[in-house]
Point group: D2
Chain length 351, copies 4
C-alpha cells in the first residue's frame, strides 16, 4: 500500500493537497449506533485550524466539515463515513516564486526524488493541511472512546527551551500555546512572537495522557501499543522523536528505580508510561513528542533549485512560528485512532 | 491481525515462546536469486546470542538456525523462507517459584489481563528470545541491502549514564558492550559488572546509522519512513523512546539552526537525520533509541501475586544486567526489514 | 478492516450510499506521471450510468466525476487520487413505503442483522450505486494498463437463457445489452422488455477477456491471480459464481483433454483460462460470471417486516430488468484493479 | 505482500515445498483458552493425507503434525500457534528427468516466468502438499467454530461426469471418493480406476455446506462473505470455478423464481446460498467448486523444455487420478478459516 491508509479495524484513508480543491477522509469500521454530528467534529477542527491567535498563521481555512456518508439520522450506520473539507483560502500563486527551489526543512526535495514529478503549490501532500483529515477522523474515534470512558488530552510541555513547571489541566485550552502551565505560557508567547518578528521559528515538546484505558490492550511482538502510538506520532510531519513514561531518562536509571512495583492499589510508579510488553497496564498512558521548529522562516537560507543551481530562499507567506499549539489536537486525534483500533482488535481476539 | 506479522512486501511472521520447543519466522516477499546460506545468517544470530561475555547472560542457547524452505541450491527462490531455532537450554522449572507472581517491569501482569490465561515459563511470548526470529529474518534483508550497497550499523552510545565521546566504528564489535568509544566501553563494563554484583541493572542508548539509502524511500502521510522505523524500534521489548537526527534537542532549536540547508554538494547539516517529510533525503539515516534497564534483577521488589496478595519477589536466574550489547543486532535487523520493505514499495509505486 | 478497502499496492477505498449526498473513492498507489483527465474517466462512468437504453433504469444520475486530488497539470502525482460523484437524482421518499419491510433478494434483512441499524433509503451501502466508485477507480487502472499494452474487455454472453453464438467484438458497445453477438442481442432485448412488462427480471452470464498480460503475474498460495479475480468479481452485488477457462466443464473432462499442451508457438489450447498455479501464462485470461436476476421486481412477493409480521411487497421504482449490460463496465473495472495491482506486486517482488 | 498470508484476524502464514525438509503454518489471532491438542488436528490431516485408498496416491507422507508454540497445558494462549510437518517421503531424484521440461497443466512454466529461477523438485511451492498446512490451520478454526455451534461439511458431488443423486451425509466419509451418494460413489471409483489404468485422470465437483452461521457475518463492498470464500476456494490449486446457491443456473432464472421469499419461519428457498449482499442470511451457506482433472498423467503430452525445444513428456510417479476426495478436507479447512475470521471481524465492528 502507498501509505495513506491507517489502522487495522478502525481504518482511515486520507487524501488531499494544501492547494487543491479539498482534503478528506474515509473512516471505515466505525461501531454502528454511535451518536455523532458535524458540530461535534467541528469542535476539534476548530482547535486545529489556523488563525486562532497571534502565535498561529493568519490563514483563513474555515475547515468546515461535510459528512457525506455513514451517518443517518444522527447515528453511525457501520458503513464508511466520508468527511470532506473544501479548501477555501488557497493562494497557489503565492508559491510561484518558490516553485523551482527546495525550501530547507520541507519535503520539496524528497518528493521530487521520490515521484519524479512535483506539485509545487504549498507543500502539496506534505502540507500540514493533511492533518485536518486526521483530526476529523480522530473526532469519531474520540466519540467512541468517550462512550468507553477513555479520555485523551495533549498539551504543550516545552517551547523554545521554556518548560512548564506545573500541570494545570484546566488552563490548557485557555492559553494560545496550549501549555499546561499558564505562567510558562506567557513566556512562551513572548518567545514565539519575538522569533516571528525576526523571521525565525522554534520547536517544542508536546505531552499526551490517555486515561482509563483498561489493562490488556495492545499486541505482543510487532503491534505493541507503544509501537503503534510511536508510528502514529512520527507520521505527523514535524515530529522528530517520542518517549514513553521515563523515556530517554530510563537510559540512565537502574532497574531497581525504573521497575514499577505494585501493591494492592496498583502500580506504585509509572515509569513505563502505562505500557509494559506492548500492552496497557491500566495506568495512565503518557508519552512526549519532540516537535521541530517550523521550517518556513523568512530569514534567508542557502538551497538549490531544480536546475541544480545554488540559490538563496526566504519562505514568505503565512506560517506558524511554532507549531506546538496546533499539533496538540493532531496528537490527540492520532492517539484516539490507535486506542479505538486496539479496543476493536482486542474484541476480535477474544471473540 | 494479531501483531505477529510485520512489513508490507518484505513480510515476516514470527512465533515462539522462550521455553517452548522452538522460535521461528517465515519471511515472504524475498527477491528471488539472492545468494544466501545458513552461515551468513548464523553470524547475526551469534551477535545476539546470550553468553558472549561477562556482561551478557550465561545461558547457552546456541541459536543454531535451520532453513526449511525458500532457498534452493544456495539461492532464494522467491517463495517463503522459513527459519527455525530449536530451544535447547530451556529450564521451565526455574520459573516455577515465580509462576504466580507478577515480576515488576515484565509483561506478566499485562499478558494475564489481555489473554486471561498465562504461560508462566520464562516470559513466554514476551521474552527477548522472540527477537532471535527477527534477527534471522533481518539477516536476509541485510543480504539484499548489501546487494543494493546499503549498510546498517548500530552501537551502544551510552550506558548507565556513561556516554561515548568518540565514534570509532572499527572498535564496536571489539568491546563487549558494542560501544563506539573503546575507552567509554571500559567504564561501561565496570559499571555493568558492579550493578550486576549488587543485583541491579542499567539502561542505555543505542544509535543506528543507515548509509547509502537513496533519496526517495518512504511514504507520505502514515507510512513515513521515520514512522515505520519508530514502530519497528518500539516493537523491541526494552525500547522506551526514539529520536531522529537532532531529535529532542530540536525542541529547543530555532528554524534557522535546525533546517538543513543545501549547496551543490548536498545537505550542509543533517539535523533531520536523513528523513524529511517521511522520505529519505539521501543523507545518512540516524536515530537513537532509549533502552530501559533490564527488568529482571535479584534485589527484592514489591509486587502482587495472581491471588491478589502483596508479596516480595527476586528475579533470580540468568539475565543480562544491561541489554544494550545484545539489542544492537536486533535494532539493525529491524532497520534492515524496514528499509528493504520500502525499496520494494518504491518499486511497486513506480512500476 | 471493514471491507471498503481493496488492493495491496494499487489500493482503493470507497464510500457512499445510494441516497446520501455522494459516493466516491480514494485511489492510492498510482504510478506518478500517468496522463489522465476527468473526460477519460467519464467515458467509463457513462457506460455504467443508468438510463442508457430501454433495458436500463431511467434514473438520471449523471455520474459526473470530480477529481479532488492527486492529479496536477494533467498528470498523476503519485499521491492519493480522490474522485467524488454527487448524487443528484435521489428520491429517498420513494422508499418510505418499503422502509419497514425486507425486499426479497435485497440486503435489507442481512444489513439489519449485521448492524442492528438500517439506512432504509434505497439499498444504502448495498446499492449498485456503490459500483460507480469502482468504475472511476478502475478507469485509472485501465489507463495505466493501456500504457502497458494490456486490454480488458467484458460483454454479455447469455441473458435469460439466450446465449451468444458468435464473438463479434466490434458489436459489443453497439447493442444495448453489450452482447458479443448482435443477433442474439436482438432476442435478449425482446426477452428483457417482455419480462419488464410483466414485472419480472432475468439474469445472465458475462464473460471477460484480459489480453497481453505477461506470463508471471499472480502469487502462489493465497493470492493467486484467479483467486484475487474471483474475490473481485464476487464482491460485485449480483454475481453468484465465476469460472476460469473451461471452468465447470473441466469437472467432466479428462486430464489428457484439459491440460494445455505447448509447442514453440505457445499453448495449444487455453482450458486454464490464462492462469496456471495462480500465475498468468501469457495467454488470454478468460473468465465468466453468473449474474442473478435483478431482485427488484414489481410483481408481488411474500416477505417479513421489521416488526416480525408477514406481508406482501412490490418493489416499484426505477430498476434494471437485467443488470448485465451495466455490470459489464464494473467487471472490467474490477479486473483492471486486480491486474494493475499485480503488476506492482511483481515489481516489488523482483526489486 | 507476497501471497502466503491469509485472513484479517484469524491470520495464517504458510511455507514449504513438497520436497524440502518441511511444510508448516503460523496461526495468529486465535482466541485464547480453546482446548486443542495434536490429535484433534491429526484427524483432519489424516483425511487429506495421500495413500488412503485405491483412488489416491500411494505416497506415504504421514503428515504427523508438531505444535511448536501457542498451546500450553492443552489450551491456546492467544499467541501464534506454529505447526510443523516434516517431509518424510521425499524423492527429489524422481523428478530429475523432468527438471528441464514444463509439465502441461502444472505451474512449472509460470513459476519460471515469474521468478526467473526454479525449484524443480516436485512442484515446489505449487505442490498440493502446500495444502497440508492449510488443513492444520483450518483444524484450529474448526475447533473454535465447533464451540460456536457452526459445522462445515464438504463432499464430492460429481466425478468424471457421474453425479450424486442423493444426499446421504452419513455415507460421505465411508466411501473412498467422499461422495454424498454411496451408489454413485461405486461408479465413481470404477471410473477413476479405469482412467488411472490408461494413464489419464478426471475432474469433479465438490460441494460445501456451512451450518449455523448467524445472520450478519460478512462485509459490504469488497470483503463480502461470498467474495472471501471465493478467493479462499480459488486459492486451492486445482479449483477452476465456484458458484453459490443456484449459481450459474441463476443466469437463466427470473427474479420471481430466484428471490428467496420469507415468512415467519424464515426464508422459503435458498437460491442465494445463504449470503445476500455479501452478508450471511442465517440460512445454510452452500457453494460448489469445479475441480480440474489431475494434471499429472502418464500418457504422453507435447510440451517445451527450458532450452526452448519441443519435446514429449509423461508424468510418471505417484499421483491422484482424481483429486476430489483429498480436496474435500482442504475446502472445509479454507471455509473454516474464512468463517472464523468473519466472526472476529464482526466482533471488532460491534465492539
Amino acid at each position: 500500500m502507498a501509505g495513506s491508509v491507517f489502522g487495522e479495524h478502525f481504518k482511515i484513508s486520507t487524501f488531499g493537497e494544501s492547494h487543491g480543491p479539498a482534503v478528506g477522509v474515509i473512516v471505515d469500521g466505525v461501531t454502528p449506533g454511535i451518536e455523532i454530528d458535524e458540530s461535534y467534529i467541528q469542535v476539534q477542527m476548530d482547535r486545529r485550524k489556523p488563525g486562532q491567535s497571534s502565535v498561529t498563521t493568519p490563514r483563513k481555512e474555515y475547515d468546515k466539515i461535510h459528512i457525506l456518508s455513514g451517518v443517518f439520522e444522527g447515528k453511525t450506520t457501520g458503513v464508511p463515513i466520508a468527511i470532506m473539507l473544501y479548501n477555501t483560502d488557497m493562494r497557489p500563486e503565492a508559491y510561484s516564486d518558490i516553485q523551482n527551489s527546495f525550501r530547507p526543512g520541507h519535503a520539496d526535495y524528497t518528493y521530487l526524488q521520490k515521484y519524479g514529478i512535483r506539485d509545487h503549490r504549498g507543500s502539496g501532500r506534505a502540507s500540514g493541511r493533511e492533518t485536518a483529515a486526521r483530526v476529523a477522523a480522530g473526532a469519531i474515534a474520540r466519540k467512541s472512546l468517550e462512550n468507553r470512558g477513555v479520555s485523551v488530552v495533549a498539551y504543550t510541555k516545552e517551547v523554545g527551551g521554556i518548560a512548564c513547571k506545573t500541570f494545570d489541566e484546566a488552563s490548557i485550552e485557555k492559553n494560545p500555546v496550549r501549555a499546561c502551565d499558564p505562567e510558562a505560557a506567557i513566556e512562551m508567547v513572548k518567545k514565539i512572537e519575538h522569533l516571528s518578528s525576526i523571521g525565525d521559528s522554534c520547536g517544542g515538546i508536546v505531552e499526551c495522557r490517555i486515561r482509563n484505558v483498561p489493562a490488556g490492550l495492545g499486541e505482543p511482538a510487532f503491534d505493541k501499543l507503544d509501537a503503534e502510538l510511536a508510528k502514529a506520532m512520527l507520521s505527523i510531519g514535524a515530529v522528530k522523536g517520542i518517549e514513553f513514561g521515563a523515556g530517554f531518562a530510563a537510559a540512565a536509571m537502574q532497574g531497581s528505580e525504573h521497575n514499577d512495583q505494585m501493591d494492592k492499589s496498583g502500580f506504585l510508579t509509572n515509569n513505563a508510561g502505562g505500557i509494559i510488553g506492548g500492552i496497557s497496564t491500566g495506568a495512565e498512558i503518557v508519552f512526549r513528542i519532540a516537535v521541530k521548529p517550523t521550517s518556513s522562516i523568512s530569514s534567508p537560507q542557502r538551497t538549490m533549485n531544480i536546475f541544480g543551481e545554488e540559490c538563496e530562499i526566504r519562505t514568505e507567506g503565512r506560517h506558524d512560528p511554532c507549531i506546538c499549539p496546533r499539533i496538540v489536537p493532531v496528537v490527540e486525534a492520532m492517539a484516539c485512532l490507535v486506542i479505538e483500533d486496539h479496543f476493536k482488535r482486542q474484541a476480535a481476539l477474544m471473540a
